[in-house]
Assembly symmetry: C2
Homo-oligomer: 289 residues x 2
């Protein structure tokens, strides 16, 4: 089974556990809508790739880690799209969850997805209970306060948010968790994998800023120009278009350099390159050729 199939299957199993005949149907629909169809699944792909590079020995735990990371990413998108934040009616070219199910159900779907992520990790613990505490701690720090996604998003409610910190919390933290969780689920020290996640997370944020600035809504699958309209820290506003492109290219190189010596080293570098190309506005990158 290739990585993409493993991820979709793990997500399908997790989402199915939120459904039951005598449960509120709109919530179940909203949870499913928030997860499928997915985007690039960049974070769980990274988790699987790192686990493989670390000599994966508990595939069910790796699958759970990958699914949990993606469920938390989906939860953040569902909440981020709400009218009190981005007020985005579309996501991945479809109605956003609140556009399809209403604000109350969308808010609850985000909550339920956060909970589902941790439940999914807990279920995998039968395989290796001694890895669960570190896995949950690492994932939780990436999404909560003071330095996870919730904190990153909360900077948008502060005057003059520090650009670097905003980016690290809102996007970088979950990429760091994606790499580290891959190592933990394989029973390895996650420390050496932090730098790879850090550079990739920043690269993705800059790529997203570039898309927000130059793509059309159709290409991006969601409304564009929001950062400028909302006055948010943004690499394009900060560095100009060329400066942001240069920064993105530097970050992709840094990420490739940050892959630790491991048996899956080459495969991982290739994944990093491909993911970078997939997300960045191709015509802007010199290295895209």
């Amino acid at each position: 089974m290739d990585a993409g199939e493993r991820i979709e299957q793990a997500l399908a199993q997790a989402v199915a556990r939120t459904e039951a005949e005598n449960a509120p149907p709109k919530l179940a629909g909203a949870i499913r809508h928030g997860v499928f169809p997915g985007g690039a699944r960049a974070r769980p792909r990274l988790t699987l790739a790192v686990a493989r590079a670390c000599g994966e020995d508990r595939p069910e735990m790796t699958n759970a880690a990958a699914a949990a990371i993606e469920l938390l990413h989906c939860a953040s998108l569902v909440h981020d799209d709400l009218p009190c934040f981005d007020d985005a009616d579309t996501r991945r070219g479809l109605p956003s969850v609140h556009a399809a199910y209403g604000v109350p159900v969308a808010l609850l779907a985000g909550d339920a997805l956060i909970v589902l992520a941790f439940e999914t990790l807990a279920r995998s613990a039968v395989e290796a209970p001694d890895r669960l505490g570190a896995l949950i701690g690492t994932v939780a720090r990436a999404v909560g306060a003071p330095f996870g996604i919730a904190a990153g998003q909360a900077w948008e409610s502060e005057p003059n948010p520090p650009a670097q910190q905003y980016r690290c919390s809102k996007t970088g933290a979950l990429f760091v968790a994606a790499t580290m969780a891959g190592a933990i689920s394989a029973g390895q020290d996650p420390g050496p994998w932090r730098r790879l996640g850090h550079h990739l997370g920043e690269a993705y944020q800059v790529a997203d800023d570039l898309l927000d600035a130059v793509a059309t809504a159709e290409q991006h699958g969601k409304p564009v120009g929001r950062d400028a309209a909302l006055g948010r820290p943004n690499a394009v506003a900060e560095l100009g278009l060329n400066g942001a492109v240069e920064r993105l290219e530097r970050l992709i190189e840094d990420a490739m350099d940050a892959v630790p010596k491991s048996r899956g080293e080459e495969e991982l570098r290739e994944l990093v390159r491909l993911q970078a190309l997939r997300l960045a506005p191709k015509r802007l990158l010199r290295s895209a050729a």
Copy 2:
């Protein structure tokens, strides 16, 4: 240290971990405001009492379980008070979190509290890693979908929600988790403790319905008459005032009968009685004397 002090200390330690000098200050304030000052802390008291009755041997894990249960309760209140649900400007006699910090930060504070609950459990795993999976699974099921708090709340967005199921998910599930988590954190089988949590949860919901119907906002610490105004399943609307009082008394008796044979049996029955008296409108209960 008595139960109340243990709970406040465990919550203070958890909340402090969401604070940092270079983190967004409003979010930290909102998280703290959502947890302190607390209400009756009925659920974590129950967790501690059950753990003691089960021969508690890992007090740090019990503290973490109690704190996690209360953090999730607080998260549900923060989200429940938002304009898209109860639109409540006050809670425990103070401004609700969104009234004090705005809707975006309140929404994120709820998210961060959910995450903090699981992080708190994970940190306690060093004491007994083999108990963590069951603990997190039990707690997660009580707050997510298909049968936890998120599902209970989502029934409010469905036509003609089933009263019993709505009540069980929105309130009962976390009481069940509170008793079961107490047993798990003490290394015991949680099964025999389910019934106690179930009856208590339903008793609390009926008590809350009675308060909503007859108390003043000042006594209740939050707006009253919301259930009737919003057409929600409600024991008073369903059974009448006297019928609801009779049901509450029956549920309190059922709860006392459901305390399993254990060394802390008598202490637990007394706690159940006291908690019931504390929450119910005293002048309505014959057994309050």
